[in-house]
């Protein structure tokens, strides 16, 4: 793990230098390679994989809410393997300390200096399993890292790797003795998905193919972290026209005005929606965002940020349905006059 200490010099971290050489077509090709590679491991979850790739390219973080055993960790591992990057897994427990996540300075007897021992966070792909089992203090340590992209221990700041993707999982069923993420914390995740059970055919095929050993064993990387970081830079330059940005603002404001929500989406949601939409457009090989990109991402990006009003009627329908209705209702603005 000592090789991970030189975190500040992640390859291809100088935006612009490589941007011209990375075309949108390159992004699309690489992204679809990753997608194909991951789909070979996770059966029948195209949408989920797609959202994961989008979040990867948009430099966001992913919250996976689901019951155990549906392949959350497998997804993270497959993604990490595909991009040929180190992956760390943190099993969150109530006694997990923040320093376990971030790392700690240890006194080295030989050199008589404090030496930084990086925590689990120093990897390209970090899987935080059952994040709601850790104490809020530990949770917030993780979330701060996610937000800042750096770790400060004993006054020294260490940059995290690039690309940096946290995939936190939550079990929504067993709530006993857990610390569910408060709304403000959930807001830090770009998207929330739930894996869901595989379709029956896919599950059967899974048994046939992967019954012998781990499917990850046979996986070959399709790209490397440096390329992914370059691609992320390129994605951030995808064009979003004024009309489209207006559309995003309209939709996010509509969640705030809707009576179905006790709490609407935050301005951070607008920002993340735009970033995710850029990545989504790039996956389609487009250098500009269109309303369809936004619409496809409304539910994964916004659903975990809003709080349904306690009205039974709305609770029953779920945030996704209400958001879908908002999408249908909010007009797509034409070009500005």
């Amino acid at each position: 793990m000592s090789s991970s200490i030189d975190t500040g010099s992640a390859p291809a971290s100088t935006p612009g230098a490589h941007a011209p050489t990375t075309s949108i077509q390159d992004v699309q090709r690489v992204a679809s390679d990753i997608h194909r590679s991951v789909s070979a491991v996770i059966e029948g979850k195209q949408e989920v994989i797609r959202t994961a790739v989008v979040v990867l390219l948009a430099e966001g973080h992913l919250l996976i809410e689901d019951v155990p055993g549906v392949g959350k960790t497998m997804l993270a591992k497959a993604l990490a393997r595909s991009i040929d990057s180190p992956m760390r897994r943190i099993q969150f427990t109530p006694d997990l300390l923040p320093s376990d996540v971030t790392g700690v300075s240890v006194f080295n007897q030989d050199t008589r200096t404090f030496e930084f021992r990086p925590g689990a966070i120093f990897a390209n792909v970090v899987v935080g399993d059952e994040i709601n089992r850790a104490s809020p203090k530990t949770q917030s340590a993780l979330l701060e890292c996610m937000e800042e992209g750096q770790v400060t221990v004993d006054g020294t700041t260490y940059r995290l790797h690039k690309p940096f993707l946290v995939m936190a999982t939550q079990n929504p069923i067993e709530m006993e003795g857990t610390y569910p993420l408060p709304e403000a914390q959930r807001d830090r995740f770009m998207a929330r998905i739930s894996m869901g059970y595989p379709p029956p055919g896919a599950e059967l095929e899974m048994l046939d193919v992967h019954g012998g050993g781990s499917p990850l064993d046979g996986m070959q990387p399709v790209t490397d972290g440096a390329t992914v970081a370059r691609m992320a830079d390129r994605v951030s330059q995808v064009h979003a026209s004024p009309a489209l940005r207006q559309y995003i603002v309209d939709i996010v404001s509509a969640t705030r005005g809707s009576s179905a929500f006790r709490l609407g989406a935050s301005p951070r949601a607008s920002l993340q929606l735009l970033r995710a939409a850029r990545a989504f457009a790039a996956l389609e090989g487009r250098d500009h965002v269109i309303p369809e990109d936004v619409q496809a991402l409304i539910e994964p990006v916004l659903a975990h940020r809003v709080i349904l009003s306690s009205d039974n009627q709305h609770l029953h329908r779920g945030a996704g349905a209400v958001l879908g209705e908002i999408v249908r209702r909010v007009p797509v603005p034409p070009a500005s006059r």
Partner: protein, 769 residues
């Protein structure tokens, strides 16, 4: 500068207006007015040319032309009244014009008032033609106002218009259209840079979109005008006026009376509307006269006296004895009581000669020359006493002094030789004998009563005039018979004049007679010594009733035997007793129309009808023009920064016109799905839609400056496909009442209705503060 003025198109427009006005010559007398309207039209078109030359906007050109027209007409017609009397002078002229068109049938005399109206209407239409054909460069549309002038003529002459008028107009119109197209085509070959949509430059109000429709309509109209009359049997003539204004139910409206009689026309009016009901003390009442006099020229009687030079009438006071009538103690008077009179004033049907009258509250006057009363308003009911002169052997035995009877002795020069020869042949010693001989001849076997005239004969290579034609073909109705008798009497030196009125009509058995419009009649009055003006009845048979008693004693007169039919030979007795004749009141049998009085004044309705037509046609342009303007404003709004967006919105509005409402504001791709699901598209249509949507999407969302494309071609292709899928009514509605135009109107109405609310809100807000 010269090109901008468009002199050749202007000249063509002027020629077209002149040609369209040409058939008006069949409606109006004289030709001076034609020059007047040509010059005024030329003047206003000249104004337009001059204004165009200096680059005036076309709407302003139109306005200034109209102002110029009003000024010119004012200077020409009321030059002495540019002061406080201006309005009243104009009103007098308008009244005169309306009187002229009301009281005269074609050809009408061109009074100063009528001339002013002509100078306003025809050049006004010339301005419309100029605006459409020259300013807007849509000559095909100019056919509409041209057709208005033409229709004015066709609808108001009782006879078929000579086809040459129509052909000439059609040719000029086609030349205009061809010239316009030629200008366009020549423009293509020039090296001049021009906008890709030249029509927009030349067509500020956007009438171009209608041009192809107008062209098609025009061609269809020409074909229909040539084919339809050829294959359909000739229906009875229905004037505009017949359907629009005339009171058809009994009693409700008034019955107008045309004081003209044309010998050349067939009589087809079978109008059975009642004119009046009356009760008479006589068993066989005489005809009811409305007017007498008139001058005959060119086959037509005109100039019957109206209510002019009247003496004030007083109820029940004795009226002067008619000129020439020698009263005797044996004279009797009879009374007639009229109920339910619907005759339009000033005319009032009464027997002749009236001894005294009671018109109740209605103010009335009495003409000493025609011995005819006239009322100011319609007298619903009235009573008259009329003289029945006693017979006297001396009556009509001596020639009268011709002095003062110039008009009543004037012969029509064209038919004069034939008339004089026939008068000589009929002979007779005393004027009375001569008159009876003429009457007997005309009532004789040789003549046939017919509402339909025989075709005009040609003698020595010349078409006969109407009177000669009647004397040769011996077929006609009361107007022809009366005219023949008048002319034959005049040839014998007997003053004679035409009387117009009604036959007594049908009795209901209780001695109440009902006079119908179809009872209109014409008869001659001859001036005889001792009798003065005396009614004769040359019209034979059942139609006209018996000949007057006093004419019955000269049956031995040479020339033409007595008519064998019972009515004509009725009451041969010279006795003053009016024994019940063997002939029943004759007119009862026939439902056919009667005399030349059947022509009703349609002029009165023609102008309002024409105005309504023009307004209607212009009204039909309003919605398309509004839609067009809306689209142009959309394109202008987006022209600089988002042209495709503008084109797209225009396309959506055009699709909405074609019955596919625009979706709510959706993303381009969603809109594409919407359109694909709401109308069946073939492959080219689908791909055109797809390309348009792609272009729109990249303009909306892609990096600016990457593309500057247009979806015009794809939009055209898509519209073509959609249009060909839609039903004809939808397509017509898209042209005439486009949704976009209706939306504009609706929005305008909404903003108007909201305005008071907004004002109220503002006021209350201020008050609240």
């Amino acid at each position: 500068m010269i090109t901008r003025a468009r002199p050749s198109e202007t000249a063509l427009a002027l020629i077209a207006v002149i040609v369209a006005s040409w058939p008006l010559t069949t409606l109006l007398q004289g030709g001076g007015w034609l020059w007047a309207i040509v010059l005024v039209s030329a003047a206003v078109l000249g104004i337009g040319m001059a204004l165009r030359a200096v680059g005036t906007p076309y709407a302003v050109v139109l306005l200034l032309q109209l102002l110029g027209l009003v000024a010119i007409v004012a200077v020409l017609n009321v030059p002495d009244h540019f002061d406080s009397t201006f309005a009243s002078a104009v009103r007098d002229l308008v009244d005169e014009a309306s009187r002229t068109v009301r009281e005269s049938a074609a050809p009408a005399p061109v009074t100063p008032g009528l001339r002013m109206m002509l100078e306003l209407i025809v050049p006004g239409l010339a301005i419309t033609v100029d605006f459409l054909a020259v300013s807007s460069r849509q000559p095909s549309l100019a056919g509409v106002p041209l057709l208005v002038i033409y229709l004015l003529s066709t609808s108001n002459t009782g006879e078929a218009l000579n086809p040459v008028y129509f052909v000439a107009l059609a040719v000029v119109w086609l030349v205009m259209v061809a010239h316009g197209s030629g200008m366009l085509v020549r423009g293509w070959s020039s090296m001049r840079a021009r906008s890709t949509s030249p029509t927009l430059l030349d067509d500020p109000l956007g009438v171009a979109g209608l041009a192809s429709v107008a062209r098609t309509l025009g061609i269809v109209t020409i074909l229909a005008a040539l084919i339809v009359p050829a294959v359909t049997p000739l229906p009875s003539t229905h004037y505009f006026a017949q359907g629009l204004g005339r009171g058809s139910g009994g009693g409700a409206g008034t019955v107008a009376f045309s004081t003209t009689a044309n010998l050349a026309n067939d009589l087809r009016s079978q109008n059975t509307s009642p004119v009046l009901d009356f009760r008479s003390s006589e068993l066989l009442p005489p005809p009811l006269r409305v007017t007498a006099g008139g001058t005959y020229a060119g086959g037509e009687w005109t100039g019957f006296p109206g209510a002019v030079g009247l003496d004030q009438g007083t109820n029940n006071r004795g009226l002067p004895v008619p000129p020439g009538l020698q009263t005797s103690p044996d004279d009797t008077t009879e009374t007639m009581t009229v109920t339910r009179n619907t005759m339009r004033p000033p005319f009032v049907p009464v027997p002749f000669p009236v001894a005294s009258a009671n018109f109740g509250d209605t103010s009335w006057g009495y003409s000493t020359t025609t011995s005819q009363p006239y009322t100011r308003t319609t007298a619903q009911s009235y009573a008259v006493r009329y003289r029945v002169p006693a017979q006297n052997a001396d009556n009509g035995s001596r020639p009268v002094d011709p002095a003062g009877f110039d008009a009543e002795l004037k012969l029509d020069p064209i038919s004069e030789p034939r008339v004089r020869a026939l008068a000589r042949q009929l002979g007779g010693d005393t004027p009375m004998q001569q008159a009876v001989a003429i009457q007997d001849y005309l009532r004789g076997n040789e003549f046939t009563y017919s509402l339909t005239l025989a075709p005009t004969r040609t003698v020595d290579g010349r078409r006969l005039d109407p009177l000669s034609n009647f004397l040769v073909t011996k077929q006609g109705y009361c107007t022809q018979f009366a005219t023949a008798m008048i002319m034959l009497a005049r040839a014998n030196g007997i003053p004679a004049r035409m009387a117009l009125g009604f036959l007594p009509g049908v009795s209901d058995g209780n001695n109440v007679y009902r006079v119908l419009q179809s009872n209109a009649h014409a008869w001659p009055e001859l001036y005889l010594s001792g009798l003065g003006w005396t009614r004769f009845e040359p019209t034979p048979g059942v139609r006209s009733g018996p000949a007057p008693d006093y004419t019955g004693d000269t049956s031995t007169a040479p020339g033409g035997g007595r008519a064998p039919d019972a009515s004509a030979s009725a009451s041969p007795s010279q006795a003053p007793t009016r024994a019940p004749s063997t002939a029943a009141p004759a007119p009862s049998a026939s439902q056919a129309a009667a005399a030349g009085g059947g022509r009703i004044d349609f002029w009165r309705y023609a102008l309002p009808t024409a105005a309504v037509l023009v307004l209607g046609l212009l009204g039909a342009l309003v919605l398309p023009l509004l839609a067009r303007r809306r689209r142009e404003s959309i394109e202008r709004r987006f022209a600089g920064h988002a042209p495709v967006e503008g084109q797209w919105q225009v396309l959506q509005s055009q699709l909405a016109d074609l019955g596919i409402p625009p979706p709510q504001d959706r993303s381009p791709r969603a809109t594409e799905r919407y359109y694909r699901s709401s109308t069946p598209l073939d492959e080219p249509g689908r791909s055109a839609l797809h390309r348009a949507v792609q272009t729109l999407e990249s303009e909306r969302y892609a990096r600016p400056g990457e593309t500057s494309r247009s979806i015009a071609r794809d939009a055209d292709r898509l519209l073509h496909v959609v249009r060909s899928n839609q039903s004809l009514p939808t397509r017509i509605a898209a042209l005439v009442i486009p949704q976009t135009g209706r939306d504009v109107v609706r929005e305008a109405a909404r903003s108007v209705t909201r305005w008071p609310q907004q004002v109220l809100a503002r006021v209350s807000r201020r008050r609240g503060r």
